[in-house]
Symmetry: C3
Subunit: 332 residues, 3 copies
């Protein structure tokens, strides 16, 4: 906990309001409650700013007129937010063996595991050798956790969950603010990972924790090996994602989707329920209609590809040469 005055000092902000206000934690603008500090980066969110329950908000000068609470006024809101997150980061110390405050029921915890403070592990769960479980994590009953797994920072895991060896759950998200010298400032991710019942997670897969809220893997989800799930992603119930696929930050994928292997999903998208995407495709826009989608270049003998590829990059010139307009083409 820090006072608003201390925080203002850290980021060189103009404080408009109560200097000794105690800030307990950070939250996004539409979730924030009393005692929390939030931030608004653009006038797009001016209504949320006006109506926020946050006790204080980081904003730039032009947004001040929409602010009805304590304000930290800075030039670069996102950068100030990034710097402030580190104040609220809990530094973890790994336990030797099983911490005395952990409740492991009858779970089998293999050798060389580090099980942190207040960890709770359900009945009939097995934890493989050399696995690390950080403070405050909850693991349900009848789970099978592999070897060399890292379960970080107060992750919540349901019942009947399988996590294969080498997986990392709760790693830092890839969120960085850039200053005017083009140097990156990491955001300390303060959210967690929440995994439902009956989820399977493959070998060497990584799931990042959320920035302020949580990353959610809902019940029944299947994630294959070497999958990357970024911060604040939501994967809906019974969705299956094949190996080597990556889902970028804040994207929501619906229920019962089947995402093929090595698909790239761009951030901040919405994929509706019952979508099938074939292997190697790129999802770079929202998908609002269930169905099967593909976007890959067909495989060709290399010599053919070299010629086709050249013409492909001239498609705009070809249609111009042929005087074809988009309006000439029937249907979509």
């Amino acid at each position: 906990m820090h006072t608003l005055g201390e925080i203002a000092k850290l980021v060189n902000a103009e404080l408009v309001g109560q200097n000794d206000l105690v800030i307990k934690s950070l939250a996004s603008i539409n979730c924030a409650k009393s005692g929390q500090l939030s931030y608004v980066v653009s006038s797009k969110y001016q209504d949320q700013l006006s109506n926020t329950q946050a006790s204080a908000v980081i904003i730039s000068q032009p947004l001040h007129k929409f602010c009805n609470t304590n304000a930290l006024i800075v030039d670069d809101v996102y950068l100030a937010f990034a710097q402030i997150t580190h104040l609220f980061k809990h530094k973890v110390v790994h336990t030797n063996g099983i911490h005395t405050s952990a409740d492991t029921n009858n779970a089998i915890v293999a050798p060389n595991c580090c099980i942190g403070e207040r960890v709770s592990i359900g009945c009939d769960t097995t934890i493989g050798a050399n696995t690390v479980v950080e403070d405050g994590t909850t693991i349900g009953a009848n789970c099978t956790i592999g070897a060399n797994v890292s379960i970080l920072q107060a992750t919540t895991i349901g019942n009947n969950v399988v996590i294969e060896s080498g997986a990392v759950i709760g790693s830092e998200g890839f969120g960085n603010a850039r200053d005017r010298h083009k140097h990156w400032h990491s955001i300390a991710h303060l959210g967690n990972v929440v995994i439902g019942n009956n989820v399977n997670i493959g070998a060497n897969t990584s799931i990042d924790r959320g920035t302020l809220e949580d990353t959610h893997i809902h019940q029944g989800v299947r994630l294959d090996n070497l999958v990357h799930i970024a911060h604040n992603v939501v994967i809906g119930e019974d969705t299956a994602i094949a190996a080597c696929t990556g889902v970028a930050g804040s994207t929501h994928i619906g229920k019962r989707c089947m995402i093929g292997g090595m698909v790239g999903v761009v951030g901040h998208l919405d994929i509706c329920d019952d979508v099938i995407v074939n292997a190697k495709s790129t999802i770079n826009k929202n998908i609002l209609t269930p169905g099967i989608y593909t976007g890959i270049m067909p495989l060709m003998p290399h010599k053919k590809w070299q010629i086709v590829g050249v013409w492909l990059t001239k498609l705009d010139k070809i249609t111009q040469y042929l005087n074809i307009k988009l309006t000439h083409l029937k249907g979509k």
Copy 2:
């Protein structure tokens, strides 16, 4: 070992045949021997069903007329099979240090390794720190295994094999049956991984064990970092696969192939010997002729790509507008 009667009960099957038949293990229909239970999902395999040596078979009612052995009749064969696999799964307990039944010759086993029951490690092999080797695994002579490696469930590894740190060998395959509620039921993979002599496996690469038979990495193969090899894949001798490539289930890749980085290979394909595939391509059909293959979109300035991309999705409309038929085009 379970009786056919017990198994029938588990999946609510109609048992046609011998209730107290002892089933020792599961096998695919064309490999099954006496004492084994198999399954057939489609009438495509009716000849194999008629001729199987299996002592019992899981089938749907319409296939019963082709069955000459004991039968478990169910509505959803694949789902029943998935559920039954778990009966035959050996639950692993990790050893503290080197199990007394392990034979490690003069191998150097670094600190914090867990070496399971009946593991055999050949002369002059080195095992890096914090590596886990599960029960029944065989590792040959003169191998170098890195740190934090997980070698699971009775893997067989030849001589002169290098496995870099963080690799996972023998993880569960990504095989799941879906029930009518669209919930996934994992298949417990009962096959293993078999790795020949002189194979190198990169950092954080994962190789899944087979479903009933084994995943095979033949001698002389080179796998780079972060490669994914799925269940039942076969990689032929002296084939090299660059980083971040994924090979989906049951695909067979021939000898002396060179697969570039971040190539996606779809499941159930055959790639012949001496095939070269350039980086980032997608292999989504069999390759039956040696040669060099490519399938990627050329890189363009983003503004150009936006225009080209639009025309590209209209190629069908453009050819229609120009009244071009496939038959108009000479050659292939």
Copy 3:
């Protein structure tokens, strides 16, 4: 250290020069100094060969006339080089706990870590549980290293560096020479990894050490999860690379670049400063102009893609049918 005579014997080379010359190490032709052995694979480098400071060079017969120093003459220079590298490889033995020669200042080293000989760890650095740090590694001050991390073979890491769990730093590069039987012979990578200040490295990311010189990650770089950085790659200051991207050997990426997720970067390329590449693109040629680049197939309903894909592979035939020449098209 080995004499030139011993080395000649290993690879069956004709030695022209001093049999008892002591070779201390290997180096590439333009960096080599007295006491070092180098190699030249093609006449393209004949000037560098003539002017090298190396005490000896591995060459083929036709290049001998350009050589002014001791020579090992072989049929296949690259293969001989690969075999010789293994003579100079230092075999690592992992320490139990912290080696007495390591200097860990006030760093917090979690349980089950193995910290090798002569390792130096700066003030206020934290090393997570089950992490392995090999001999000769230097880690700066105020770093946060996760759990189950492998830091291999004399890596150098600056201050304020974050390495997430499961990352592997300093793994073997994917360099292999092929003999006339098409068998692969690994190159023992003798270079290291050098990481600057303020670098962040994501979960399960791998960075290979250099072949003879080092792999360089310059200060301020951000690497997300499951990224692959190959041997001898150089990543310039303040460049950010999103998850699942792979950079192949010897490519140089400039400063302040932003490379999206799952981008594939081919080897031996130069990417200039201030380049932005969108997710899933392939970089298969040098980029010499700052700007935004893209190269992906747009996502389509699968049925549309099937038709578009067919026409796409006929683009050469379509332009031929329409009698369009590249010279007909205005602009580039």
